[in-house]
Amino acid sequence: MTGNGFFSFRRFRAMVGKEFVQMRRDRITFAMMIGIPILQMIIFGFAINSDPKHLPTVILAADHSVFTRTIISAMQNSGYFRVIENVASETEADLLVKEGEVQFVLSIPEQFSRRLVRGENPSLLLTADATDPAATSNAVSAFRLLAESALSRDLDGPLQHLRRTKAPLDIIVHPRFNPEAVTQYNIVPGLMGVVLTMTLVIITALAMTRERERGTMENLLSTPVKPMEVMIGKIMPYIIVGYVQMGVILLAGRFLFKVPMIGNIFLLLAVSLFFIAANLGVGLTFSTIARNQLQAVQMAFFFFLPSILLSGFMFPFRGMPVWAQHVGEMLPLTHYLRIVRGILLKGNDFAHILPNLWPIALFLLIALSVGLKRYRRTLD
């Protein structure tokens, strides 16, 4: 007999092997694991629109005058923009957009005011993070109108003649990352996180509860197998399932929806491990609390609903009330969506996604320790 230590690789392998055979035998569940991503992809091929406001905006001003102040305050007053700060350089502005900290950058070129007064039709550049087109389109169209109408009030007295010219200034909008505003570009990468959350939480929540409900837990507990071996042995096969699901979505996204994938796919696959494990941890924790399989499914939905509604998948994150945003920030899916979209559409590298990676890691740590603590070594 092998040792009775804390972790035996043989016992762990026995658990994994058993789980795989059971997974193969359970045809419906197996079909669901592959069917759900495909079905969701078809359903969510359509966009869900909304009118998000108070989108964070930074100003990159090379010119300061009464005109620029008018434009900025008009932006604020429209409700669509929330000016958070002035930045000094283009690189700084660029980084903020890439990390998803801000939605817009308004660039005011040098000598804007002078050229405006001279009637030279100066341009304003509004750079938008258009990853999620629904989040920016209304704000962009509002901006075109408000800049002109706001300035017309300032163009008074000797400058009145400028009002008569059709457009005293040019507005250039630069929608970055998803210039054609194809909603699928935003939905399909997001779907990856949603499908992983949905299937993995439910399936793992069921896996352990099933053992208890069928009475096999009693047998397992009377053997020398350790909680760690049971937990990780149960998680392992589903991590592989998670990667298969990711593969299906990435392939469909690439060839069916023609989603551009400019980032490093391997980076995405690597960091996804944290997200997959975090979801499995949640599922396992639920399964240690639930008394039967029905309860386990109910709990999984209890977690799944806020995830899908408050993470920025269904509705633009910044369109939600602040309290809902705070709830959303606690969910791993919120951060994972930013990572997936960041890598695929913006070409983010590791440094860019780090602010969204550690919350997932923290969540994973909490979920696993709660699950392990709750795993009952005895039946009482």
Partner: protein
């Protein structure tokens, strides 16, 4: 007695309560190596709870003792590697085949040369023809054999069997008991809970539990003798019609139909005989017999309830 060998089970005052209700109350039990020890008692008497405490599934609230030389409170992990536990309910995987179930259990126990061990066990339990069949599709009797096979793979020294023969046909029960006897001959100790009186009589020794208390223990004969119960057997035409009348007589505690006869028993032998006097005439034949285990157990249970 095999007193020179250390006891396999030696526990004292084991107590367990759930939500303030005492299920096992200061239970002490000693079982010698190679013994087949029967565990009897009505439903809810604490048999399952006691067995679960022995194999580390439940933590006793109080009490102490040893199982296979290991402390039941502190060393349940060590106990687990040397016992075979068969739960009341079939607790192997119905969606795994017979062989896959045995392979899994073998790996969990870390058995070397798994293929041979599983093959041997399949042969011994006559399960070979079903090796590739899913466990869920086996009949009750074969499920029970598979469960026993899974318990035996790692060659445990103690079997804890919780109502192993419930709902199993007589032939399968006999086969099962043959296995238990041959294991006992090899030195494997068994603690078996059951509701069947014929099985109780097959045990070397037995214990009777009710409401968490040990009411009697010893060999079947000892248990019957110590009960102090006197039983009369009454037979004759339409004797069963007398049952309601007999039940109301002084000294009569139990009236049980037994085939064509009635068994009437009570603790007070003289009072019982006096009450039955009117029926000891030509119409009925009466005879003093030994009480059987069932009567003893029912009488124990009634006394416990009164107390």
């Amino acid at each position: 007695m095999m007193a020179q060998e250390p006891l396999v089970i030696d526990v004292r005052n084991l107590t367990k309560s759930f939500a303030g209700k005492t299920v096992v109350d200061k239970l002490s039990l000693q079982v010698a190596p190679g013994e087949i020890y029967g565990f009897l008692g009505p439903n809810g008497s604490g048999k399952t709870t006691f067995i679960r405490m022995l194999c580390g599934l439940l933590r006793p609230d109080a009490g102490s003792g040893f199982c296979l030389g290991y402390d039941v409170l502190a060393e349940s992990e060590k106990i687990k590697t040397h016992i075979g536990y068969m739960a009341q309910r079939f607790s192997l995987y119905e969606d795994l085949s017979v062989r896959e179930n045995l392979n899994f259990m073998g790996r969990i126990y870390g058995i070397g040369n798994l293929r041979d061990a599983v093959g041997e066990t399949l042969e011994r339990m006559q399960l070979s023809p079903f090796a590739a069949q899913l466990a869920g599709t086996l009949s009750g009797g074969w499920k029970q054999r598979l469960a026993l096979a899974a318990c035996l793979l790692h060659r445990p020294r103690l079997l804890l069997l919780d109502e192993p023969t419930a709902g199993v046909d007589p032939k399968a029960r006999r086969d099962f008991w043959d296995d238990i006897y041959s294991l006992a001959a090899e030195g494997v100790t068994s603690l078996i809970s059951t509701h069947y009186m014929d099985e109780a009589e097959r045990c070397h020794r037995l214990a009777y539990l009710a409401y968490g208390n040990l009411l009697a223990s010893g060999t079947a004969d000892e248990v019957i003798k110590s009960s102090g119960l006197t039983t009369w057997s009454l037979s004759g035409k339409n004797v069963h019609r007398l049952a309601p009348t007999l039940k109301s007589l002084a000294g009569v505690e139990q009236v049980v139909p037994f085939g064509a006869t009635l068994h009437i028993s009570g603790h007070d032998a003289t009072q019982l005989e006096r009450s039955l006097q009117p029926f000891m005439n030509g119409e009925y034949t009466s005879r003093k017999t030994a009480a059987n285990l069932e009567e003893v157990f029912i009488s124990l249970m009634q006394q416990q309830r009164v107390a």
